[in-house]
Amino acid sequence: MSYLLSATCAVPAAGAVLTAALPAGTTEARRRTTKTVALAVSVLTLGLAAAVAASFEPGGARYQLTESHSWIRSFGISFSLGADGIGTALVLLTAVLVPLVMLAGWHDATGPVSGSAAGSVPEGSFESKRRTQAFFALILAVEAMVLVSFLATDVFVFYVFFEAMLIPMYFLIGGFGDRAGGPDSDRQRSYAAVKFLLYNLLGGLVMLAAVIGLYVVAADQGQATFSLTALTDAISSGKLVIDPNAQRALFLGFFFAFAVKAPMWPLHTWLPNAMGESTAGTAVLITAVVDKVGTFAMLRFCLGLFPDASKTFAPVIMVLALVGIVYGALVAIGQKDIKRLVAYASISHFGFIILGVFAMTSQGQSGATLYMVNHGISTAAWMLVAGFLISRRGSRLIADYGGVQKVAPVLAGTFLIGGLATLSLPGMAPFVSEFLVLVGTFSRYPAIGVVATFGIVLAALYALLLYQRTMTGPVKAGVEGVKDLKARELAVVAPLVALTLLLGVYPKPLTDMVNPAVNDTLSQVHRTDPAPAHPVAATNGGEQK
C-alpha cells in the first residue's frame, strides 16, 4: 500500500497549519516569509500530484495507488483513497491552479479588508496582523480538502471533506475582498459569504441524509460499508439491489448537494455574489476548483451508486442544464460587473459539463471531464487577468473601462486570449471538451444538442462584448494610469495560456487518462454509445496510421 495519495493530501494540510503558525506579519519581511512558505508548500504539492499522474497507468485498474486506513470500524468507514483517471486529472488541475492563485493574490491579504474599510482596521489589530497568514493558510486548507474529495473512495470520507471545504471557503470569501467594492462592500461580502455557506450547507445536509439512507439500505442487505468500490461492485453485480423509489430518493439527495455546489440552474444564485465580492484568486478557487467537486461527484457517485435512477432523471437534468447554458450566457450578456459576468459565464459552462455527464456517452463524459479541467484553466486565466485589471483601476464596473489595450497591450492581449478560450475557440483547450460534450449529447438527444450549440454563439457574444467595452475604443478617464502586467502577473498568466494552447492542440495524454474511467462509469450504468446509422469502413481517417 503506497502512501503517495495521502501524502499528496497531507502536505497542503500540514502546510496550512505551518503557515497559520508562522509569526504574525507585522512587517513586510515577515509577510513575505509567510507567502514564500505557503507557495513552496503548494509547489511541493504540485510535485506530488505530478508523481501521482506519472505513476498512474491508463491501462491499469480503475482505482490505482489505493490505500485504506480503518477509521470507524463499527460503521464500516475507512479513510480510503484511490486515484482514477478522472480524479487524477482534477487533482492535477487543483495542484496547478493553487500556486498560481497564491501568486496572483500575493498582495491581496496585506492591506485592510477593502477600500471602504480602510482605516476601520487599526494597525496592529488581529485583523491586520494575521491576515496574511490566514489568507494563505486558508487557501492551503481548501486545497487539501479538495484533493481528498477528488481521491476519496469512501462515501463518508468524501462527504466529510465535501462539507468541511465550506469552512475555509467561508472565511476566504467573507474576510478578503478586492478593493473595488462600493461603500458597503463589507456588508455585501459578508452577505455573499453567508449565502454561500447556507446554500451549500443545505445541500450538504440533504446529502448527509442520503448518505445515511444509503448505509441503512446497504446494511439491510448485508453490505454494511461506506466503501464506494464495494458498493458499486455490489450494485453492478446485483448483490445489492436498491428498490427504485428508494434509489430515486437517494439519488436526488446526492444530486441536490452536487447541483448546488456545481452550481446548476436554478440553484446558482450564490455563485455571482461569491465570485463578485471575493478576490479574483478566491473566485478562481471557487469556480475552477471547489465547484468541480460537485460535477466530479455527479460523475463518480450519482452514476456509480444509482445507475437506474440516473437514467430515470437524466432527461430532466439535461433540460435544466440546457436552460442553465442559455440562461447563464444571456444573463452574462446583461451584466454590468466584470466578475459577475465571468461568474454567469461559468454557470453556462457548468451547464455544458452536466450535459456531458448525463448524456451518458463516452464522448459526452470524456468531454465533461476534459471540460472540468479546461474550464478551470481558461476561466482562471480570464478571471485572474480581470482581477489584475480591477486591482489597477479599483472598479468592477465594465462602464469604467475603455481603451485599455492602448495603455496595457499585454494585459489586453491576455484578457482576449482568456475570452477566446472561454468562447471555446478551436485550437484552445475548451473547444475540444465543448465539442465532445456537444457530440456526445447530440448523438443521444439531438434536439438538446442543437439548442446547446446556440450556446457557442452566445458565448462569443458575451466574451467579445466584454473585450470590446473594456479594452477597445478611446481611452476612458481613469484608465490612463493603468500599468501593463508585471513580471509576477505574467508568471501567473503565462502557464495558464500555455496550458490552454497545449491541451487544445494535443489533449491526447488527458484523454488517454480519462477514457478508461469513463468507460467504467458507463458500464456501471449499463449504457453504450448509440451506434452510427451507417458506420463507415473501419479504416476511416480517424484511425491512427
Binding site: G334, S362, P426, L436, L464, N515, P532, G541, G542
Partner: protein, 631 residues
C-alpha cells in the same frame, strides 16, 4: 515530399508566434520575417505543385497523417492533411496572393507603430487558411474555419481605438459564429450518421444515408458557407469589415477567406450531389446574393464598400455555380481564382488611392486621379476590365462559364438562374464603371481632410505598386490560361467530377448576351457619371438607392429582429435572476429570520418560567412513559 505539407502551415504559424512573442526587439524588421515566411510557404506550395504535376491524375491526392488529436472511444479526430488538386489550387492562391499582400503591407503600414502585430496577424491568417484548405476531416477544417475568423476579427479590429472598427470586428466574429454553429451541427450529424467526419469515409458512405439526413447536413454546411462568405442572410458583416486596413480587405475579404464557403460546398460535393433540395437552396442563396451585392455596390460612395458589395455579388456567382453541382464546381473554383486576382488587385488599387488621398474613402471626393497615379490607374483599370468580363480577360472566361452552366442547369430554373446571372453581369458592369469613373475620370472633387490640409495625390512606393502589377497580370491572363484546352477543368475533375448540362442556348449565344449586358451596363454608367459632373453631396436618390446605401436595410432588419429583442431578453433575465430566483431565496431567509424573532419572545429570562417549562416537560415525559407502559 509529403513532409512539406505540415511545413506549409508551420512556416506562417511560426512567424506569427515569433512576432507576437518576440516583443519590441522585432519592431524594426519583423515585417520582413513575416513576408519571408509567407514567401517560403509559397515556395513549398510550388514545390508540392510541381511534385503533384509529376504524378498522373489518379495518384495526385495524398494525405499526411500527423497525430491523433482527440482520441475518444468511437470518436477519432486527427490532425491530418490532405493535398489534392483542389487544395493545392487554394494553397497557391492563398500563399501567392498572401505573399504579395505582405509585400504591399510593408509599404502600406510603414507608419503604424503596431506594424509588427499586424504582420503577426497576417501570418496567423495564412496558417489558419492553409489548415482550412488542407484539412482531411471536417473537424480540422473547423479549426481553420474559426482560425480565419479569429484572424479576420483581429485584423478588422486592428485599429481598436476606433469604436467603429472594434464593433465591426465583433460583428464579423459573431455573425461568423452563427455560420460556425451550422458547421458544427453538420459535423455532429455526420458523426451520428457515419461515425466519422473525415472526408473520404464520409463521401464514400454518403450513399447509404437517407436523403433527408443528407439534406440536413447540406443545409447546415450552406449555413456555414453563408456566414463565412457573406451570403444572404448572413451577409451583413462584410460591409463593416472594410473598417480594417485595406490590405486586409484585399487578402481576407476579397481574395481568400470569404471564398472559403465556396471551397466548403465544392469540397462537400459528394454530399450535395445526393441532396438536390440542399443544392437548390445553395443556388437560390447564390443567385439572391449576387443581385443583392450588386445592388448594394451600385449605391455606395465609399470605394471600399462598393468593392465589398461587388465581392459579395461575385461570391454569389461562385456559390450559385457550386450549387449547380458537377456542372459548376470547377467553374466556381475557376471564378474564385480569377476573382482572387482581380479583386485583390482592385482593393490594393483602392488602398493606393486612399494612401495618396489622405485616407479619403468617399469616391465623390476623388476624380481625375489617372494623371496623378498612372500605375494604380493601369492596374485598377485592368482589374476593372477583368471583373466586368471584358472579352479576353480572365473575368470574361470564368463568369461566362458560370452563366453557361446556369443555363445548362436546364428547365425553368435554368432560365431563371441564367437571366439572374446576365442581369448580375449588367449591374456589375454598371457599378464598376461607376467606381472607375468617379475615381479616375472627371474633374477633381478633392476635399481637405479633417486636419484641413488638401490632398496631394501621388503614386505609391514600389513595395505597393509591384504587387498590384503582378496581380494585374494575373487578372489579365489567368482566365485564358485556365480555359485553354479546359486545362483547369481537367485539373479539378478527379476531385470535383464534371458533368455537361444540356444548355438551351449555344455557348456563343450566351457569350454574346453576356457581353451585350456588360456593354449596356457600362454605357449606362458612363451616361450617368461620365458625361455630367458628379455632385459632391450625394443626391437624395430613389427609395431603392437610399435602401441600398443602407445595405438594403439588412442591419436595420437584424437590429429590429435580433439585437433589440435579444438585449431586452437579457435585461429581463437579469431582472428575473436578481428579483425572481434570488428574491425567492432571500425571501425564504427573511421568513425564517422573522419566525425565529417571534420565537425569541419565549425567552423571558425569568428562571421560574424556565423551571416551569422544565417541570412541565418532565410531567409530559413521565406521563407518556407511563401511558406507554399501561398500553
Amino acid at each position: 515530399m509529403n513532409s512539406l505539407i505540415p511545413l506549409l502551415v508551420a512556416a506562417p504559424l511560426a512567424g506569427a508566434a515569433l512576432l507576437l512573442l518576440g516583443g519590441r526587439a522585432l519592431d524594426r524588421f519583423g515585417h520582413w520575417i513575416a513576408t519571408a515566411l509567407a514567401a517560403l510557404s509559397f515556395a513549398f506550395g510550388l514545390a508540392l505543385f510541381a511534385d503533384m504535376l509529376g504524378r498522373d491524375a489518379e495518384h495526385r491526392a495524398v494525405t499526411e497523417q500527423l497525430y491523433s488529436w482527440i482520441p475518444v472511444d468511437g470518436f477519432q479526430a486527427d490532425v491530418a492533411f490532405q493535398l489534392d488538386q483542389l487544395s493545392i489550387t487554394f494553397v497557391l492562391l492563398i500563399t501567392g496572393v498572401g505573399t504579395l499582400i505582405h509585400l504591399y503591407s510593408v509599404g502600406y503600414m510603414a507608419h503604424d507603430e503596431r506594424r509588427r502585430r499586424f504582420f503577426a496577424y497576417l501570418n496567423l491568417f495564412l496558417a489558419a487558411m492553409l489548415v482550412l484548405v488542407l484539412a482531411d476531416n471536417y473537424l480540422l477544417l473547423y479549426v481553420g474555419w474559426e482560425g480565419v475568423g479569429l484572424a479576420s476579427f483581429l485584423l478588422i479590429g486592428f485599429w481598436q481605438h476606433k469604436p467603429s472598427a472594434a464593433t465591426a470586428a465583433k460583428k464579423a466574429f459573431i455573425v461568423n459564429r452563427v455560420g460556425d454553429m451550422g458547421l458544427s451541427i453538420a459535423i455532429m450529424l455526420m458523426f451520428v450518421e457515419f461515425g466519422s467526419f473525415a472526408f473520404q469515409p464520409v463521401f464514400a458512405t454518403a450513399g447509404d444515408a437517407s436523403e433527408g439526413k443528407l439534406t440536413a447536413i447540406g443545409l447546415m454546411l450552406l449555413l456555414a458557407a453563408c456566414g463565412k462568405s457573406a451570403q444572404v442572410p448572413l451577409q451583413s458583416w462584410l460591409g463593416d469589415a472594410m473598417e480594417g486596413p485595406t490590405p486586409v480587405s484585399a487578402l481576407i475579404h476579397a481574395a481568400t477567406m470569404v471564398t472559403a464557403g465556396v471551397y466548403l460546398i465544392v469540397r462537400s460535393g459528394a454530399i450535395f450531389n445526393l441532396a438536390p433540395d440542399a443544392q437548390t437552396a445553395v443556388v437560390v442563396v447564390g443567385a439572391v446574393t449576387l443581385l443583392f451585392g450588386a445592388v448594394v455596390g451600385c449605391a455606395k460612395d465609399d470605394i471600399k464598400k462598393a468593392l465589398a458589395g461587388s465581392t459579395m455579388s461575385q461570391i454569389g456567382y461562385m456559390i450559385m455555380a457550386a450549387g449547380l453541382g458537377p456542372i459548376g464546381y470547377a467553374f466556381a473554383i475557376m471564378h474564385l481564382v480569377t476573382h482572387g486576382f482581380f479583386k485583390a488587385g482592385m482593393f490594393l488599387g483602392a488602398g493606393s488611392v486612399m494612401h495618396g488621398m489622405n485616407d479619403e474613402v468617399n469616391m465623390r471626393h476623388y476624380g481625375g486621379l489617372r494623371k496623378y497615379m498612372p500605375v494604380t490607374f493601369a492596374t485598377f483599370g485592368l482589374g476593372y476590365l477583368a471583373i466586368i468580363g471584358f472579352p479576353g480577360l480572365s473575368g470574361f472566361f470564368s463568369k461566362d462559364k458560370i452563366i453557361e452552366a446556369a443555363f445548362a442547369k436546364g428547365g425553368t430554373e435554368g432560365w431563371i438562374l441564367g437571366l439572374c446571372a446576365l442581369l448580375g453581369a449588367a449591374v456589375t458592369a454598371f457599378y464598376m464603371t461607376r467606381v472607375m469613373v468617379l475615381t479616375f475620370f472627371g474633374e477633381k472633387r478633392w476635399q481637405p481632410d479633417a486636419e484641413g490640409n488638401d490632398p496631394h495625390p501621388h503614386e505609391s512606393p514600389k513595395s505597393m505598386t509591384v504587387p498590384m502589377v503582378v496581380l494585374a497580370f494575373g487578372s489579365v491572363f489567368a482566365g485564358g490560361l485556365f480555359v485553354y484546352g479546359n486545362s483547369f477543368l481537367h485539373w479539378l475533375e478527379p476531385v470535383t467530377g464534371h458533368a455537361e448540362g444540356d444548355s438551351p442556348l449555344s455557348p456563343w449565344t450566351v457569350t454574346g448576351l453576356a457581353t451585350a449586358c456588360m456593354l449596356a451596363g457600362a454605357a449606362l454608367a458612363w451616361q450617368m457619371y461620365g458625361r455630367s459632373p458628379v455632385p459632391v453631396k450625394p443626391p437624395v436618390g430613389s427609395l431603392l438607392t437610399r435602401a441600398a446605401r443602407r445595405d438594403l436595410l439588412q442591419d436595420d432588419f437584424n437590429h429590429a429582429v435580433l439585437v433589440r429583442p435579444g438585449t431586452a431578453l437579457a435585461a429581463t433575465l437579469v431582472w428575473f435572476d436578481s428579483r425572481g430566483l434570488d428574491g425567492f431565496v432571500n425571501g425564504l431567509a427573511a421568513a425564517i429570520g422573522g419566525i425565529s424573532a417571534r420565537l425569541r419572545r419565549i425567552q423571558t429570562g425569568y428562571v421560574r418560567t424556565y423551571a416551569l417549562s422544565m417541570f412541565g416537560g418532565t410531567l409530559v415525559l413521565v406521563a407518556s412513559t407511563l401511558l406507554m407502559r399501561s398500553v
